[in-house]
């Protein structure tokens, strides 16, 4: 299958998601379930990565700022902007592409191979609406929240590492955080978060939904889903930076 027919089929899948739900209550239940799966399920890894990401940023920035002419509060400024602009949205979404993406692809792939999707179709349920749409909507709601949490934890992790290693005092770090703060950066980070949320949910859903074969193919499609999502995230990251900054 050529890349154009893959893209065409992906777009048709997205188009096919929009139909009237057979039972709103069941769809709502599925949406909440997906919010919990994607959000709560990824909270642990997001917390760990964010704290260490901030901590490493502080230590490495301090290591490079050797001149006494630059005030130490600049470390906090650099950590804040790096975390908000790049680390929290991009790095976390790449991790989510692995954690959430592989889960979505293998879940749908397994349902396809074991004929559960066919069973739903025969019941008269639009499986794209019931299985794919709640995942994408849940990701659009939850991933930006995770990015905000990641940014906050990253900045806090930087402060923790800075004070623990005697690089910077807490008060100077706090003062640096407020210096030259641009709220546009947060809006830009949110634009990235929504874009990446769509990618990490819809791309693996596509690979899982259309899997053909057996368990081996489920594994392959899962890997393909993660790799494609990561590439798409990096591509979208560049495009958004080029357009919005």
């Amino acid at each position: 299958m050529t890349i154009f027919s893959e893209i065409g089929r992906y777009l048709l899948m997205l188009k096919g998601m929009f139909s009237k739900p057979e039972n709103m209550k069941m769809y709502w239940k599925e949406f909440i379930h997906q919010c919990s799966e994607i959000g709560i399920g990824s909270l642990g890894i997001v917390t760990i990565i964010s704290i260490f990401m901030g901590a490493v940023s502080t230590v490495q920035t301090a290591y490079q700022l050797v001149t006494p002419l630059i005030p130490k509060s600049t470390i906090a400024q650099i950590v804040r902007d790096t975390v908000i602009l790049e680390f929290a949205p991009t790095l976390i979404c790449i991790v989510l592409a692995g954690v959430v993406g592989s889960k979505i692809a293998s879940e749908l792939g397994n349902m396809r191979v074991s004929e559960q999707i066919d069973a739903l179709e025969i019941m008269g349920i639009n499986t794209k609406t019931y299985l794919v749409l709640p995942k994408i909507l849940a990701a659009l709601l939850v991933v930006p929240m995770l990015v905000i949490i990641a940014a906050a934890l990253g900045i806090w992790g930087g402060r923790l590492a800075g004070t623990a290693a005697n690089i910077i005092s807490g008060s100077i770090y706090d003062k640096g955080l407020l210096k030259g703060f641009l709220d546009y950066n947060v809006r830009f980070a949110m634009a990235k978060a929504y874009t990446f949320a769509f990618i990490v949910s819809s791309v693996p859903a596509y690979f899982g939904y259309y899997v053909q074969g057996g368990s081996l193919e489920i594994g392959r499609s899962s890997t393909k889903a993660v790799v494609t999502s990561c590439i798409m995230i990096l591509l979208a990251d560049y495009l958004l930076a080029a357009i919005l900054l």
Binding site: N23, A119, E121, I122, M123, G124
Partner: protein, 287 residues
């Protein structure tokens, strides 16, 4: 009633169904039989709308299913129940939740009413005390029965069973066959069964289609199949010597030559030229 009118289906250059027509009536078990690759699964998938035929029409009670819009198809599908080869139960749901799923999706019944209906159908398929079990905890036969329970919970007009006996022991297969037949007659459902199992053919085949390389090679019922002169059908059904013997016995039964009161020995004692070939001497005397 389901009518198939000249159904054709190809995948690329490979033609899988070459113009199949048939009429499947309610209250009877309609069997599609044939060797692997003969197109029976594709035909069934076309009938339920999982595949779109390239040509021909599928009519559900006179309504052309192939010409329907997606929403209209969804309405017809609500009257369809299907038992899949691998049961296709939702792994993360218990037996009760699996069977209740169509009720949750398509009815406005209270939880109590839904629970009563679930217990009713589970009892119908002889499954008790399994409500809280997950599919992984069930045997193959039990999974099939849960699949049947889920398929009939909405009182469908049409029941499709894709190889219901695959992977089951002969005794359990018999239970599943009897169950399908009972349900078909009791609820006056149009049942379509896709099978390899010769026991099913003999037991529940009210109307049988034999598929060969995408064509409908033969049609009839489980009585007529015994006397069929179609060589391909005979080669397929009575493939082993044992099955050939079973066929001979069934023929004798059907023609009244043997019964519970009149066994094989009596038949041989009497004049039974069809059973014992005449000796050369007898042959000469006759002439």
């Amino acid at each position: 009633m389901i009518e198939l009118k000249d159904i054709k289906k190809s995948f690329g250059d490979r033609t899988v169904i070459r113009g199949v027509s048939a009429v499947m009536k309610p209250g009877q078990c309609n069997l599609i039989i044939g060797a692997s690759g003969s197109g029976k699964t594709v035909l069934m998938k076309c009938m339920v709308g999982l595949l779109k035929p390239d040509d021909g029409h599928i009519l559900y009670n006179g309504q052309d299913f192939t010409a329907m819009k997606t929403e209209e198809k969804a309405e017809v599908r609500k009257q369809i129940g299907m038992l899949f080869q691998g049961s296709a139960l939702f792994d993360s749901l218990t037996v009760e939740q699996n069977v209740m799923f169509p009720l949750n999706m398509f009815t406005k019944m209270t939880h109590r009413e839904k629970l009563n209906r679930v217990n009713e159908v589970l009892e119908k398929v002889n499954l008790k005390d399994t409500n809280k079990k997950f599919p992984a905890e069930l045997s193959g036969g039990m999974k099939k029965r849960v699949g049947i329970a889920r398929a009939i919970v909405l009182n469908p007009k049409y029941l499709f069973c894709d190889e219901p006996n695959s992977g089951l022991d002969p005794q359990t297969s018999l239970v599943i066959d009897k169950l399908i037949q009972e349900i078909t007659v009791e609820y006056n459902i149009t049942t379509v069964v896709n099978t390899h199992d010769m026991n099913s053919v003999m037991e529940i085949g009210d109307y049988i289609i034999y598929m060969f390389e995408g064509n409908k090679e033969w049609e009839g019922n489980n009585k007529e199949i015994i006397f069929s002169k179609n060589q391909r059908l005979n080669d397929f059904i009575f493939a082993s010597e044992f099955l050939q013997d079973v066929k001979d016995m069934r023929m004798l039964e059907e023609t009244g030559k043997i019964s519970e009161d009149r066994n094989m020995e009596q038949l041989i004692d009497e004049d039974a030229p069809s059973l014992i070939p005449p000796t050369d001497e007898e042959q000469e005397n006759k002439q």
